[in-house]
């Protein structure tokens, strides 16, 4: 692992804790105050999960998946979606509303492990960390979906999510925007000189764009209370991390020219 890089375990802890804390804060602060002002916490939790998921995608895709980076993101977010909704239904059935995100996370881990075992043992893909990565990506995907859905709906009860997120079809928007936020960073930085810091700055930037979309969608459900704080924080977060990504790019690129002809043969190092 290179100098100054974050370790996988560090990112897993940040992702799980950050995601869960954000989702719980949003749900309970909203229900305690009876408003929707705190929905943005769930979206922030989802952004942290994007941060984690993008690194997991990065680790597994560097081995060479054969079909490109987007495939693993789509697979996991498709699986994560089912896990989330089952987790919420289980919590509703057994009356343990508070445990819903944790159950969703565990179910996503189960699907992730199954996918990883199938990919490595049955399809015989030669990637040593496949099971662990698939599990991590599925868990991150479930937190992303649950986080953005909670931000849209204002809470994570099953009937609330069903009514406000699934029925209008926002669940698919969360699916693709969250999935894209997770897989775009590594796909966009693909190449021999890819660096974790630059990729993860981009991950936070795409995460905040996803938060912006969730904020717009939440406006349809909870109006100004949910939409305005979410959108404002998303725009600020995006600006900060996009500028950091730009600075990283300037540092890493062979040259960043305002305009110019192609470099001559001699100029290329």
């Amino acid at each position: 692992m290179a100098e100054g890089e974050r370790s996988p375990r560090q990112l897993l802890v940040i992702g799980v804790v950050g995601g869960l804390v954000g989702i719980y804060l949003a749900n309970y602060l909203n229900s305690m105050t009876g408003t929707a002002w705190f929905s943005f916490f769930a979206a922030l939790g989802a952004v942290i999960a994007v941060f984690w998921g993008a690194d997991a995608v990065r680790r597994v895709a560097s081995y060479g998946l054969g079909t490109g980076v987007p495939s693993i993101g789509m697979l996991s977010i498709g699986a994560g979606q089912v896990a989330v909704l089952l987790g919420l239904a289980v919590a509703l059935n057994y009356g343990i509303h508070w445990a819903a995100p944790i159950i969703a996370l565990i179910l996503a881990a189960i699907i992730g492990v199954v996918n990883g075992i199938m990919a490595r043992r049955v399809i015989k893909m030669n990637i040593a960390i496949m099971e662990r990565s698939m599990t991590e990506i599925a868990m991150a995907a479930s937190l992303i979906i649950l986080g953005f859905s909670t931000a849209i709906a204002g809470g994570f009860a099953f009937d609330v999510i069903m009514k406000y997120v699934v029925a209008p079809g926002f669940i698919i928007a969360v699916f693709i925007v969250g999935g894209m936020a997770m897989l775009h960073p590594f796909n966009a930085c693909l190449g021999p000189d890819e660096r974790q810091k630059r990729t993860l700055n981009l991950a936070l930037s795409t995460g905040f764009i996803a938060m912006l979309v969730a904020g717009i969608a939440s406006g349809a459900i909870n109006g100004v209370q949910a939409a305005v704080p979410t959108m404002i924080i998303a725009i600020f977060g995006w600006i900060i991390y996009y500028l950091r990504f730009f600075a990283d790019t300037k540092q890493d690129a062979a040259a960043m020219l305002s305009t110019g002809l192609l470099p001559k043969e001699e100029e290329v190092a």
Partner: protein
């Protein structure tokens, strides 16, 4: 109540989706440079494109016929096959007139269906171009299977969820009932799950049923079976968890 029959439909649907991906001729990135036989897209995404168009057909059929099993399945398959036949044909028009190449495969000497000579028509340094007869027909079969698979998954989910009390409601001004939205969202998710697994099995490009890589199909069936079983189980357990509805 957990319905074993619907679970079997989802598993079967998943297997058919995975199998369909193996039939659809994909040349990947090289096909766009007329270096490989097949359509110029990725395996996952082309199967998803045609299969999900089939899903639209299945959804309309399910709603129009009030849940008729046979009609939903057939319309799902036919819609998907229609989409890929148009796509393949227009792509071939592009190859013939835009790139100026005859349609040919480099993997076989004589096309299994049309019996036309292939290797003399392959330009130098390439592995074929366009979608000749066998690949085209193989694509139609593949899209039909993927469409039927997607329709099976959608039918099982929609029929299960329609039985939950309160799931036929709609919210606000949005016209789609809960069970349609949830079934469609899950069908898309399970679709991607199986498509990606199958494309990992193929590992790049495939020309159709006459391609040597086609013999890898059994591994994909096994993987799709397990993955769809788990995914389908999770999706159907929601019915069990909500006996009283919402």
């Amino acid at each position: 109540m957990f319905s074993l029959l619907y679970w079997v439909w989802i598993i079967l649907g998943g297997i058919l989706i995975g199998a369909g991906v193996h039939f659809i001729p994909v040349g990947g990135a090289p096909a766009a440079m007329s270096q490989a036989t097949g359509v110029g897209t990725g395996t996952t995404m082309l199967a998803a494109a045609s299969g999900l168009t089939g899903l639209i057909g299945a959804g309309s059929a399910f709603a129009a016929s009030g849940g008729n099993f046979a009609y939903t399945i057939v319309m799902g398959g036919v819609s998907a096959a229609l989409m890929i036949s148009i796509l393949g044909f227009i792509a071939n028009v592009m190859y013939v007139y835009g790139a100026g190449v005859p349609l040919a495969s480099a993997k076989v000497k004589y096309d299994p269906i049309s019996k036309w000579r292939q290797d003399l028509y392959v330009s130098r340094g390439t592995e074929g171009h366009g979608t000749p007869m066998s690949s085209f027909v193989s694509g139609i079969i593949g899209a039909f299977l993927a469409g039927v698979g997607g329709a099976l998954v959608y039918f099982a989910l929609a029929a299960s969820y329609a039985g939950i009390p309160g799931f036929s409601a709609t919210f606000g001004g949005y016209p789609a009932p809960y069970y349609v939205s949830l079934a469609a969202a899950f069908a898309i998710g399970i679709f991607f799950l199986n498509c990606v697994m199958a494309s990992y099995n193929i590992g790049g490009t495939i020309e159709g049923f006459h391609d040597p890589k086609f013999r890898r199909l059994p591994k994909s069936i096994a993987a799709s079976l397990v993955v769809s079983a788990v995914g389908g189980l999770f999706a159907l357990l929601i019915v069990v968890m909500l006996p009283g509805g919402i």
